[in-house]
């Protein structure tokens, strides 16, 4: 904050110098200031300098056409700004680069609204470095680094002149998250959590938003509130701990969702999911080379893909860990009351169960999101996969077909051999009596 105030003083000096030198602009400003004096007299919390800025910038509809054709609104509602957390630092701290010498549009052109947001983003960092560090680790920042022009920066979520203390989220509309994630917010709004008024950030966090499929952050968010969940599941769910590891919460608690299996490449030495190497995308190329040709990996191709990942390092360093999850983000947000959650084991534990008809293999992409490649459902039922898909098995649902045949053979043999033996004994009964009779005598 000391730095900010120092900047304020320096900028204030420049402002007065600019006032003298830029008479034309100043006179225009004074005219507007006089006209709106009565309005801003009420904004006693604002400094005189800020009131001078607002003299022009509170004008309704004030906007500017930028170099790339974007239209930038220049209007700042003084009454709102007065209530913001930034009212004490005033205009000049964030707009330090703006003075009468270079006040747009006369002296300085702004390339576009996105460019201007990015420029102002750097200003946010100067005071909010710890928060910005969190943002840097987020999926939003990762997308931004990848060049995604829709990736949100500070001002996309925090309305620049209306930053309230911890209240940038509007529970009713889901803004600002719903600006980009509207379908998900609509699904969430109808869910058990949406109805209680929880914010997106309660689960996803505000600044270090990670991809939903990365790590255990979301599961931990669930268990953070539902601390007794594991114990309450243990009462009725055999192997509850294993279910918690291998099944995502929405897979049961979003009962109408379509489910699928994601087989994740896992590094057993590093104890984390395998990630794409920076700048060298390898997964999709390898998956194609494994022989799938876009048709989805079969059991042999999957085995071959896994072998490819193990050639370079320790044998069996890379394995596959399966996870049962819902197909879309929308479905992941349609959580219901626990009484409506799936409790019927047969939904998964029988052959042909819906979740095992859709299978992907995945790796962590450079932005932290999963990069997936399709696999054929047979990979879950093939004897070839015993080793490669060793880390995922749902009794009944992903049972190996060859073992079914062996079991049928064993039971038929177990019944058939005694029956056959008995039949032969019965056919030879007279002959046997005759022989044994002779031996007796």
């Amino acid at each position: 904050m000391a730095i900010c105030r120092s900047k304020l003083r320096v900028t204030g000096t420049k402002f007065h110098a600019g006032l003298i030198m830029s008479a034309r602009l100043a006179s225009a400003m004074i005219l507007v200031a006089v006209a709106s004096l009565s309005t801003h007299a009420a904004d006693s919390a604002l400094s005189q300098l800020d009131q001078q800025c607002l003299a022009c910038h509170s004008a309704k509809g004030l906007e500017m056409k930028l170099a790339n054709g974007d239209v930038l609104s220049l209007q700042v509602q003084g009454a709102v700004f007065t209530k913001t957390v930034h009212n004490k630092i005033g205009c000049a701290v964030c707009h330090a680069a703006t003075s009468f010498e270079n006040h747009p549009p006369v002296k300085r052109k702004i390339a576009g609204s996105r460019e201007y947001s990015l420029e102002m983003n750097r200003v946010c960092q100067s005071c909010h470095a710890p928060i910005f560090k969190l943002y840097e680790s987020s999926i939003h920042a990762a997308l931004f680094r990848e060049g995604n022009s829709y990736a949100p920066v500070c001002t996309d979520c925090h309305s620049p002149h209306a930053v309230m203390a911890k209240a940038s989220y509007d529970a009713a509309s889901g803004a600002p998250c719903s600006k980009c994630h509207d379908p998900i917010f609509n699904a969430y709004a109808g869910s058990v959590h949406g109805k209680t008024g929880l914010n997106c950030s309660n689960c996803h966090r505000a600044h270090d938003v990670t991809p939903a499929t990365a790590g255990d952050q979301l599961k931990n968010a669930c268990l953070g509130c539902h601390q007794g969940a594991l114990d309450s599941h243990r009462i009725w769910l055999p192997n509850a701990g294993r279910h918690f590891d291998a099944v995502s919460c929405p897979a049961c608690h979003s009962p109408t969702a379509k489910r699928k299996v994601d087989l994740r490449l896992y590094d057993n030495v590093a104890q984390e999911r395998v990630a794409e190497r920076e700048g060298v995308p390898q997964f999709e190329t390898r998956a194609r080379l494994a022989g799938a040709k876009g048709a989805g990996l079969d059991a042999m191709a999957l085995r071959s893909l896994l072998r490819g990942f193990n050639i370079e390092g320790t044998d069996n360093r890379t394995t596959l860990r399966g996870r049962l999850e819902v197909t879309t983000g929308v479905e992941a947000h349609q959580l219901t009351r626990s009484a409506q959650a799936i409790r019927d084991c047969a939904k998964c534990h029988q052959q042909g169960a819906d979740p095992f008809q859709s299978v992907t293999v995945s790796i962590v992409g450079s932005d932290g999101r999963s990069v997936r490649y399709g696999a054929k459902p047979e990979v879950l039922n093939s004897i070839v996969s015993v080793d490669s898909v060793g880390g995922f098995y749902a009794i009944g649902g992903t049972r190996i077909k060859l073992l079914d045949w062996l079991l049928a053979l064993a039971v038929l043999g177990g019944i058939g051999v005694p029956l056959g033996h008995m039949t032969v004994r019965w056919l030879f009964r007279r002959y046997a009596k005759k022989i044994s009779g002779k031996e007796d005598s």
């Binding site: 009725w236 055999p238 192997n239 509850a240 701990g241 294993r242 918690f244 590891d245 057993n268 394995t319 084991c345 047969a346 534990h349 029988q350 052959q351 996969s385 015993v386 080793d387 898909v389 060793g390 880390g391 995922f392 098995y393 009794i395 009944g396 992903t398 049972r399 190996i400 073992l403 062996l406 079991l407 053979l409 064993a410 039971v411 043999g413 177990g414 019944i415 051999v417 005694p418 033996h421 008995m422 032969v424 004994r425 030879f428 002959y431 046997a432 009596k433 005759k434 022989i435 044994s436 009779g437 031996e439 007796d440």
Partner: protein, 212 residues
């Protein structure tokens, strides 16, 4: 007819608990694996029963193990150290079941207190009791709580590998149990061996006896 005491009480208790337990494990095992095809009980009931009966069988196994470890009856399991002798005796026994029995030939094995098993039984029961049953118990316990034993399961290659081993032994027992019951009816009467496992006394029928 002369009788000899070949099945001491602890062995009989172990045997019948084991017999009932294995039948229950096979039935619940079928139900767990083939829900939808078989609907004797719910999946969850089958799993819970399978788990509990499994632990009873593990405890029961130790009745058998401790009895034989601490009694001279362990001699019934002493292996024949001469492979040729063992092979000849096994071949003779196999020839009896596969050929001689149809002609009414006598069982080549003669039951005594320390030789109640014929050489085929001796070999197969050692494999079953010292390898397959412990392996089945071990894999079963690992599958009972996959999370608790995740480290060991990882070392073995994953839950699918452990389950496959468990199912392969299940397949063996599902077939074996029919053969075992049938062979038990091949005494000098159909019920002779079965009665012996209840009373402990095996009737000695010199000419027509048959091992189970």
């Amino acid at each position: 007819m002369p009788r000899i005491y070949v099945h001491p009480l602890p062995v009989r208790i172990w045997h019948w608990i084991n017999a009932l337990g294995f039948v229950a494990m096979i039935i619940t095992g079928f139900q767990i694996r083939y829900i939808g095809l078989i609907d004797l009980m719910s999946f969850r009931t089958a799993v819970v029963l399978h788990d509990w009966i499994g632990f009873v069988l593990i405890g029961n196994f130790f009745i058998w193990l401790l009895f034989y470890l601490f009694s001279d009856k362990i001699r019934v399991y002493h292996p024949e150290l001469s492979p040729m002798k063992h092979f000849r005796a096994s071949f003779r026994q196999a020839m009896y079941y596969g050929y001689g029995i149809f002609k009414g030939e006598p069982n080549p094995h003669h039951v005594s207190v320390y030789e109640k098993f014929n050489s085929m039984q001796s070999m197969s029961y050692q494999v079953i009791m010292l390898l397959l049953v412990p392996l089945q118990f071990w894999t079963g316990v690992l599958l009972w709580d996959v999370k608790r034993f995740s480290g060991m399961i990882e070392v073995l290659g994953g839950v699918r590998v452990v389950d496959t081993a468990h199912v392969l032994i299940f397949i063996f027992f599902s077939g074996f149990i029919f053969i075992h019951v049938y062979l038990a009816t091949l005494g000098h009467t159909r019920m002779a061996h079965i009665k012996a496992m209840i009373t402990g006394y095996e009737e000695i029928e010199e000419e027509h006896g048959a091992g189970k």
